[in-house]
Symmetry: D2
Subunit: 358 residues, 4 copies
């Protein structure tokens, strides 16, 4: 089966299901000698974990990562870095009622149709629990990118109708991590939390948008034609569960603009080529130009809600699926570290590719 690997030189091959033994992967391309800062890596996982606040699912998963190979005393040796997060919360009996039912807007039906067999427990391979592997591999990528001074920060810019209208340059992004919804505008953050709390009480879910800013990326990342930097970022983001759209730089707004407005004039600053505006989003011809890279990722409301829903079962009978279990009323706060992780993997890969021909 295809689809389990991401990257060319910095590469994650992931494995695992929601309610199997665990989630993990193999990372290739880790620089020999890199120190695996376990506090940092575990910290990234903690940013993703369920049960971290009252606006996320109350499932409590401690999610401790173990590195199985590829290091000695947490110094990378350059061999494949295998890791696992062993599943603790394996109450698979909870899912017996879903064994033969296709949950609306989940992957149950399509997996069954494609493979003829599926792990029904909590979505199996299609569960968002799979993103654990991404966060670990992204954390290691961040450690590699640190030496280039690259910083990657994502935040929540929209929840339902509540939109952060300010440009990221007007904001103190470091504020984002100080509130549970991860929005850098404290006033709006409070409204978002309150709103999500209402959604939760109402047993519903709501969508949102995550925006990501990459600073200090070296000039020259990304490859022409099919592997343009934004195309790779796009695939990376769209591969995250529940994502419905991706835009970078001027994004969908570009459709309404004139070339004379949209073009970013070049000038020189301190011997460097710079652009006065940045509708390009730091990427021209698919290659980073040294300006900030920024993009947004739209998430749908998660499909699991605590309301009865009409659907069909495996035999084609129309049935009512009873509400049950625990759910995330809004996924975007927990998606923030996942977006960052995917961005970090793309950038680390581009850095390695660039090294290869110079």
């Amino acid at each position: 089966m295809a689809g389990n690997s991401f990257g060319t030189l910095y590469k994650l091959t992931s494995f695992g299901e929601s309610h199997g033994r665990g989630i993990g992967g193999i990372i290739e391309g880790v620089a020999p000698g890199l120190v695996l800062d376990m506090d940092f890596i575990q910290g990234e996982l903690d940013r993703r974990r369920p049960g971290q606040s009252r606006i996320t699912t109350p499932r409590d998963e401690s999610d401790k990562v173990e590195f199985i190979s590829g290091h000695m005393d947490h110094v990378a040796t350059g061999t494949p870095l295998a890791f696992a997060v062993w599943n603790k919360d394996q109450r698979s009996g909870d899912y017996d009622n879903l064994k033969d039912i296709f949950r609306p807007s989940h992957a149950d039906y399509t997996y069954e149709a494609k493979y003829g067999v599926r792990d029904h427990r909590g979505g199996g391979r299609s569960s968002a629990r799979e993103t654990i592997a991404r966060v670990v591999a992204g954390a290691v990528a961040k450690l590699m990118l640190r030496q280039y001074g690259v910083s990657i920060q994502a935040y929540v810019s929209q929840v339902g109708m509540l939109k952060l209208e300010k440009d990221y340059r007007e904001l103190d992004l470091s504020v984002a991590e100080s509130n549970i919804v991860r929005c850098p505008d404290p006033v709006l953050a409070e409204k978002m939390v309150e709103y999500i709390d209402g959604i939760r009480v109402n047993h519903d879910s709501v969508g949102g948008i995550v925006t990501c800013i990459i600073k200090n990326a070296p000039v020259g990342l990304g490859d022409p034609v099919f592997d343009k930097l934004h195309a790779r970022l796009g695939q990376a983001m769209l591969s995250i569960n529940a994502v419905k759209g991706f835009e970078y730089g001027s994004g969908f707004g570009a459709a309404e603009m004139l070339g004379s407005q949209h073009n970013d004039e070049f000038y020189t600053e301190g011997g460097k080529v710079r652009s006065r505006t940045n509708n390009s989003g730091g990427i021209q011809g698919g290659i980073s130009n040294g300006e900030d890279i920024y993009f947004s990722v739209a998430f749908k409301p998660v499909a699991t809600i605590l309301k009865d829903q009409n659907t069909v079962d495996k035999s084609g009978n129309e049935v009512v699926m009873k509400a049950r279990g625990r759910h995330d009323p809004c996924v975007v706060p927990r998606a923030v570290p996942i977006v960052e992780a995917m961005a970090a993997m793309v950038l680390a890969d581009c850095v390695l590719i660039n090294k290869s021909y110079r």
Copy 2:
């Protein structure tokens, strides 16, 4: 250099520059025995060609495709199908003035920074002329998909502020190809043409949106985790020149929705599992579910405009770049066949991947 190949089993590796000998590629994965319908393939190229109407660039490129290998009497043998479109309009002297200048919002600066050397003539490898290879490979993919009854149709849904508000299900999509802007609403199409004409006269350019509808795709296309069908479509579309955003199904609008609104209820129709709504855009868990697949692609206004612009040269001097040459006032009408071609390549690849494990 990475980035010149697209696909796993149905795979295009492309080559060529705007003003070199030509543009071409090698297609792997073509079914042995497939009849290469040259009228159809050439017809697809003609839909892309410059000079096809008064709202496209007046450059006249006839763009005839030649298949070099992989067939006998235009029946594919299963060996690599190499092809080329030889460049005719090679007035490279036209570009001497651009040799040392970085055009705003073009790839001149990033290529120079990345490679230390670049073909400045008409953008070289970064020219949209490269999409010729995509259209040829997409046309062959369409021929392969025909036997499955899959249809792929794209159209222009926005030019500047002019938006097609109607849902695609209310439209007769076949109308799109009957007007030069390729919009299926004849009234709006006329307005768009008029608007673009004004842009052209004003030496400017404008952005737009292309929407694409795929009908009759088999259930089961796409792969879990990183190669979700929409993630692959996203990369495919974002890799097209001038693209700034991609959304599928409910898209960015999903951010504002509740789960109870967004979830697509399943029901049974004629023994088939169907969904009553299609916010999923025909894709669940990254795998096609048999409903229509639909997505939109945002294009920026093309960077070449006939106005003087401030920029810098290779030595870092700030200069005024004089307006000169020919340009596309709005790229979206010509982008329609390119969007379709990329979608066809993704689907053909997914079809082949699916065959491999069943």
Copy 3:
């Protein structure tokens, strides 16, 4: 780091070091629904394990495989099949004396030079213990190939000067597994055992040859040009620790032959195209022709011997390395299941590739 994956559609990505937590891998391409016959898989590992007889290393490693993901109750779901064999015999203190020494004809020096850091314990990633992952993935491949009736059997055809001169068609290959040296000629087998026992007592090691016979492979496996079936088998075999050569069909002997002797005449038998001789080794133009596929793999004497040896340390000082520890006097008996495993992986991959375009 490259080199950890093998295969295109049936694909193993392996991880692990000799004295780390364990050895394992991720297998992609396993047919959904395949029953993982654990007795068979464990049995294959047991054929490889150290300590299985008096002519192998006395290290006792029980090597139990655990499947971590990709199955429910040992039925494959089509998702990545991750597995691990956890290391038991981790007396890494045993290796402190080797921390700064480059053992002759081992990978110590080249790893150090390449990575600047290395796991010195028992060879780390370069240890033959890594082949555990191959045997597991090969065993699963064998289960997939069973439904096509393909059989793969390897045996020892040479140990030192002791050569099996008979053609495989004159032998009862099933005899091979009934003696500890895995030679299908019982008389020669006894001589080999005796000879190896002498080598062991003398603290030395000796090389040998493994021959492999594949029967009932479908016509059409292998791909033209670079991925010819024998080229892929060759890479597979040469990637096994200690291998120095590979030949198939007439092999090196072909250099002395005339075309009129070597060509395999076709004839028809029961509606099938057959060849009267099989110098082609079942492969023509890189593609299987339905005749038996056979090839031989030459192994050097293992580099670990219990004699003092001259070498250098990390600082470049010439030193005498003292004999110590346990070793395999002759690796070929234990290499038999590894050769089979690699062959099975190649064939399973070719089978999946073939499905994709028909």
Copy 4:
């Protein structure tokens, strides 16, 4: 269809058939700025060309290479380097008699069985004419390797029973190119030429061996586990038409040796780690150690001979195939540049891979 690409970062994707429009390919990974020395590249092709001496096929193919993209004035720009050698000698009518016949020990039957359709003219894709693409890509790789001081030289070491018994270190390898059989021992060379001439007159063919010596390869080339340097060289060589075996360093002879004889003792020379013997063939643990890399490649007698042969046709009838046409009595002299080319591609790829992680 798989199998048309070779390499990861330095990568050739080839196309073309014996009697189609031409043979060519796309090379990726060429260093931007590399000067394409056309005299050198064409010279390499001339070493491969038919009709170069009385012991090769009298077919006269001038085989001029044209670079189609990826350079400006023969300076590589880093974009894909496409090239073609257009076929001149396209007398395809010559092959009408072979349209429905399976030539013994050719790929006719296996291609027909695999694809259901085939280009019968001169073997189509399976023709050794395909190696033109390898020689061009290898020549460019050699230009890249020059800056590292790496030299690659192959020569003929056996023709039929005539074997060069001397070690390569006793020979002046530069002599090889001064005789038409490319053997560095002038006396033996003369015997070989005479012998091949007799074979030719007798309408037969004979096999042989090519040996290749690589000097000054940097330490550290090759990757662990599956992509060991010798495993990649092995696949490369085995993928050449008519190759039946590959061995490196001590090769098949290692099977007869004791560890105490075979191990290469390390010592220090001028601050460098060296080995006193080189049974390892310059490769330890799959990674180059700075000593000479050497290997041998066995070629079968070419299948085309000018004698009547029994075979079957497409319908399964047993027929006598009449002798006809032109043929190479011994392929090894022309194989020398092909072996070198494949080695150069492998090394260039390893050099690029190594750059990526340091």
